[in-house]
């Protein structure tokens, strides 16, 4: 299988969908020029400036425009350059994109994909590093996906674009240059289906996006300590594949949830609640969350390191889960 960086996989997914379906359009700041990280590099050359549309810095209005275009029969992909700026587009996303199918009694559909990158990478500070996916997952009508590797990035993006609902496709900037195998040809990854990345029978580690790699590394180390950990990447947080996680916890009896977002009100809280509802009597110890502290993201590299969860904290949490 060919190797792609995560970023190249996204670009390949975009190009395949644009080739397959003439109603797919890209809107965003600098998208025709490739954007700050080069994700859309060369797409405008292939498909023309009328389909790869550079927009002014007007996130809210561009989001509304894309929703309107979706209502009128196009299949827009909007790029919000940093998830921190999705705040400016939340009105349109929450009040129109998410609700119009429901409040129109099914008369309208909003086949919209919002590509946005999030997370800590490159010490960019409080307005270029956040993980805000839990806000989005709280909104009925939105789908939210967070691929953690190249194959899922391409396959989930293709599913997102083909979906008749608004899907927020949350990329992680820190993963852009990581490499992974991507199957040749069409391999669409379904939205709402978790991936079991490592089998184990004593501990379930649910990890999202940038935290998947540290979780796998932690599981490897834990195996040396004699702890057999199963690692699950939900890949989608709305809808969430609760069944796969429940099945795993029924087998292992212990669970850690890992995400880069702030712990309080994070998606880990929802996952924990669902597990205690459906698998309470299978749990041998309290569910442990590994996530960022309740603080804005600091600029100093020293503080950023203190902020970011990683392998060591996952291993500590695992030991806590097994503490007598």
């Amino acid at each position: 299988m060919p190797e792609f960086t995560y970023l190249e996989a996204i670009r390949a997914g975009l190009a395949e969908e644009m080739r397959r379906d003439k109603s797919v359009y890209i809107f965003g700041e600098d998208v025709a020029l490739g954007g700050p990280f080069g994700v859309t590099q060369g797409i405008a050359d292939k498909f023309g400036l009328h389909r790869v549309v550079n927009t002014p810095i007007s996130e809210g209005t561009v989001m509304g425009l894309a929703i309107g275009a979706a209502l009128a029969g196009l299949r827009p992909v909007v790029e919000i350059m940093f998830i921190d700026f999705i705040t400016l587009a939340m009105d349109q996303l929450v009040n129109h994109a998410a609700k119009l199918h429901y409040i129109s009694g099914g008369q309208l559909k909003v086949p919209l994909t919002v590509r946005v990158q999030c997370g800590i990478s490159g010490t960019m500070g409080a307005h270029h590093s956040q993980s805000l996916e839990a806000w989005l997952a709280h909104v009925p009508g939105l789908k939210v996906v967070m691929p953690a590797n190249s194959a899922d990035a391409k396959g989930l993006l293709q599913s997102s674009i083909r979906d008749d609902n608004p899907v927020v496709f949350v990329e992680h900037r820190g993963l852009y240059w990581t490499k992974g195998e991507v199957p040749d040809g069409e391999r669409v990854v379904p939205i709402g289906k978790a991936a079991v990345l490592r089998s184990g029978d004593q501990l379930t580690i649910v990890a999202l996006s940038s935290m998947v790699a540290p979780a796998l590394a932690a599981a490897e180390d834990l195996a040396q300590e004699g702890i057999s950990a199963e690692v699950i990447d939900p890949r989608s947080i709305a809808p969430l594949d609760v069944d796969t996680i429940v099945g795993s916890v029924k087998k292992t009896g212990r669970m850690i949830i890992v995400h880069e977002a702030v712990e309080q009100g994070g998606i880990g809280a929802e996952i924990a609640a669902r597990i205690q509802q459906e698998a309470f009597y299978y749990l041998d110890s309290p569910i442990v969350r590994v996530a960022a502290p309740f603080a804005p993201i600091p600029a100093s590299p020293a503080l950023e390191t203190a902020f970011l969860p990683g392998k060591e904290r996952i291993i500590e949490a695992a030991r806590r889960a097994f503490a007598p």
């Binding site: 359009y25 009328h50 927009t55 002014p56 007007s58 809210g60 209005t61 561009v62 989001m63 509304g64 425009l65 894309a66 929703i67 309107g68 275009a69 979706a70 209502l71 009128a72 029969g73 196009l74 827009p76 009105d91 349109q92 009040n95 129109h96 119009l100 199918h101 429901y102 409040i103 129109s104 009694g105 099914g106 008369q107 309208l108 559909k109 909003v110 086949p111 009925p140 009508g141 789908k143 008749d164 609902n165």
Partner: protein
């Protein structure tokens, strides 16, 4: 009335009466608590809705705001389904899930309204973008009030529409009040058309209570948009004769001001013009009003005798 305007003004008068009767009935049902929630009526603004929509096609994209019963009826919405919708019934346009502020009558071209002031202005840009790409000479039109003119998306939208020459018509219903506050307390800009000119968009300000004037301005606007000449802004000066919402005593408004505007009632003005031209008699006028009220009585009876949505609808249609 301009001589060259080929419209059937008797039909347009009928449409204005249908809106007036609909909203007066909705107001009465609201007072009886047969309709609940928030009800924003546009009584007194019918000339803008009918003047504008009478120039649009069913395959155009029409967007409203929170005060949009009139726009939907002007676009051709079924008054039975509309009344049922605002009464929260299963037979309503949206099965009772939308209500007064979220009307969708897709088959008429009336795409959607919104509860957020100015919220549909960007959506209309999207309709216009799609129209431009499809090259079928469709246009988008969006209705909003003077209160939207101080919101960010309004300015962002004027900028983008101008930049990309989108076939969108901005129909500003300047009724002088943003909720309870007069425009003069919110901005130094007296005519919102001025903003459009700043962004390089052709704009005019017309008497929004004069159906003929609205049609003339809209006719030019639609022609320009269909000819791919870019967006147009039409500011219609008007007044709502009711409060911001039903139940609002509107104490912020002088009674003398209300009386002044009642003299400029857009329906009476069309009726007087048609009578003067001997197109129509007093008897005809009476029957137009009576027929409208009868249709609306039937719509109300249909709505109130319709079933409520089933409880299991509550989480259906969350996703398409």
């Amino acid at each position: 009335m301009t001589r060259k305007d080929p419209a059937n003004f008797v039909d347009l008068l009928r449409r204005m009466w249908l809106i007036r009767a609909f909203e007066e009935k909705a107001s009465a049902l609201y007072a009886e608590r047969q309709i609940v929630g928030l009800l924003h009526l546009g009584i007194g603004q019918e000339a803008v809705a009918v003047g504008a929509c009478s120039l649009l096609r069913r395959d155009d994209f029409i967007f409203g705001g929170h005060r949009s019963h009139g726009h939907a009826i002007a676009a051709g919405a079924d008054v039975n389904k509309l009344m049922a919708e605002i009464a929260g019934r299963a037979t309503g346009y949206c099965g009772g899930k939308g209500g007064s502020m979220h009307i969708v009558a897709r088959e008429t071209g009336f795409i959607t309204a919104t509860g957020v002031v100015g919220g549909t202005i960007p959506l209309a840009l999207g309709g216009a973008f799609a129209a431009k790409e499809k090259k079928r000479r469709q246009v988008a039109a969006v209705f909003f009030g003077d209160g939207a003119g101080q919101a960010g998306p309004f300015h962002e939208s004027l900028n983008i529409a101008s930049l990309w020459r989108l076939p969108v018509i901005f129909v500003c219903e300047n009724n002088g009040y943003a909720e309870f506050t007069p425009l003069s307390a919110h901005t130094k800009i007296e005519r919102l058309a001025q903003h459009a000119k700043t962004y390089g968009i052709p704009a005019s300000t017309v008497d929004g209570n004069d159906l003929f004037a609205v049609r003339e301005a809209m006719s030019d606007a639609v022609e320009k948009c269909r000819a791919a000449e870019g967006p147009v802004f039409v500011e219609c000066l008007t007044h709502r004769l009711r409060g911001h919402y039903e139940g609002d005593p509107a104490k912020y408004r002088e009674l003398s001001q209300l009386a002044e505007w009642k003299k400029k009632d857009p329906i009476a003005r069309v009726a007087a013009a048609l009578k003067k031209q001997k197109v129509i008699s007093d008897k005809d006028l009476e029957s137009i009003e009576r027929e409208a009220r009868e249709l609306i009585e039937k719509a109300a009876a249909f709505a109130l005798s319709s079933p409520w949505p089933a409880p299991d609808e509550v989480n259906r249609q969350v996703y398409a």
